[in-house]
């Protein structure tokens, strides 16, 4: 574990880190910690995997009757 930044603190910084929102010095500390800590590296791996997997989810589509109603509304709008 890198000195100064505890694992417990790092997990709270991880979103800011992944969003590129950490000030440079703090980002350096996070990177240094990650280079030396398997637990936090595992944590970040899981987080990155989860984010990537969430991008592969397909969304439940709208119920068919609702889609049909919307199409009707579109046809009315087009006619009106």
């Amino acid at each position: 574990m890198a000195k100064g930044l505890a694992c417990k603190e790092l997990v709270e910084l991880i979103t800011d880190y992944l969003e590129g929102m950490l000030p440079r010095r703090l980002r350096k500390r996070v990177e240094k910690h990650l280079a030396a800590c398997d637990g936090c590296t595992g944590y970040v791996e899981q987080m990155r995997f989860m984010i990537e997997a969430a991008g592969r989810l397909t969304e439940e589509s709208l119920p068919e009757p609702m889609k049909a109603e919307l199409l009707h509304a579109f046809q009315d709008w087009r006619a009106g």
Binding site: K8, E12, T15, Q46, M66, L71, A73, R78
Partner: protein, 215 residues
């Protein structure tokens, strides 16, 4: 006048809709409908009311289409319309959501259970006592299974509405943080707090699932 920020796809889509192209309409409904329903659910009580909100929002979209200037993406513009309709409806239901407070709905929420770290009196205080495993130790067929995706999907479904909306827009639909702030009238900080809470919980659900079936 069309703005310069407008992606080419949006411009073509708007033109097709204005020309009355049903296929284009079905495409936008399929693409944005589910997210609109989820946004509506943040502000109103029931799924049925949320469906009405989405219907009303589409009328707003169609009636406003001629005035769409492309200052934001079509997606952001549509999402803002549904958010506004849902807010109005929610207020009428006496259920206004104080959005400024949404980032603080769980002030004590921790990304990780404190018991997984060594306690304050320990020489390694704050370091992992029970660290997460490396993804590399998980058999690939398990990691990449449909079941894993289903676990993530379910964990997202179970989040409080604002967290669910933010993580879905960011991670599933790929909106930028600026777009999400714009749609939900959130500050950048609140958006990040919601995303942090959401991602932390979904990661935990993933971890628990991956730990099952490992000796």
């Amino acid at each position: 006048m069309l703005g310069t920020n407008q992606p080419r796809g949006d411009r073509e889509l708007v033109a097709a809709l204005l020309a009355g192209d049903e296929t284009a309409f079905v495409t936008v409904v399929d693409t944005y409908g589910p997210a609109m329903l989820r946004l509506a659910r943040m502000y109103v009580r029931t799924r049925a009311v949320a469906e009405e909100v989405v219907q009303e929002a589409w009328l707003g979209v169609l009636n406003g289409l001629k005035r769409f200037e492309g200052r934001s993406s079509l997606r952001t513009w549509i999402f803002r319309i549904v958010t506004n309709v849902a807010k109005t409806r929610g207020e009428r239901e006496g259920r206004s959501v104080p959005f400024s407070s949404l980032g603080d709905d769980e002030p004590d929420g921790k990304a990780v259970d404190p018991d997984r770290f060594f306690p304050p009196d320990h020489e390694s205080a704050g370091a992992w006592q029970f660290p997460p495993r490396s993804i590399g130790d998980v058999p690939e067929d398990r990691l990449l299974s449909q079941e894993t995706l289903a676990v993530i999907d379910k964990a997202i479904e179970e989040l409080p509405p604002a967290q669910r909306a933010v993580i879905t827009m960011r991670d599933t639909q790929g909106l930028s943080s600026d777009e999400v702030c714009n749609v939900l009238d959130l500050t950048e900080t609140n958006q990040r707090v919601l995303l942090h809470r959401a991602r932390s919980k979904v990661r935990l659900a993933l971890e628990r699932y991956l730990e099952e079936g490992q000796a």
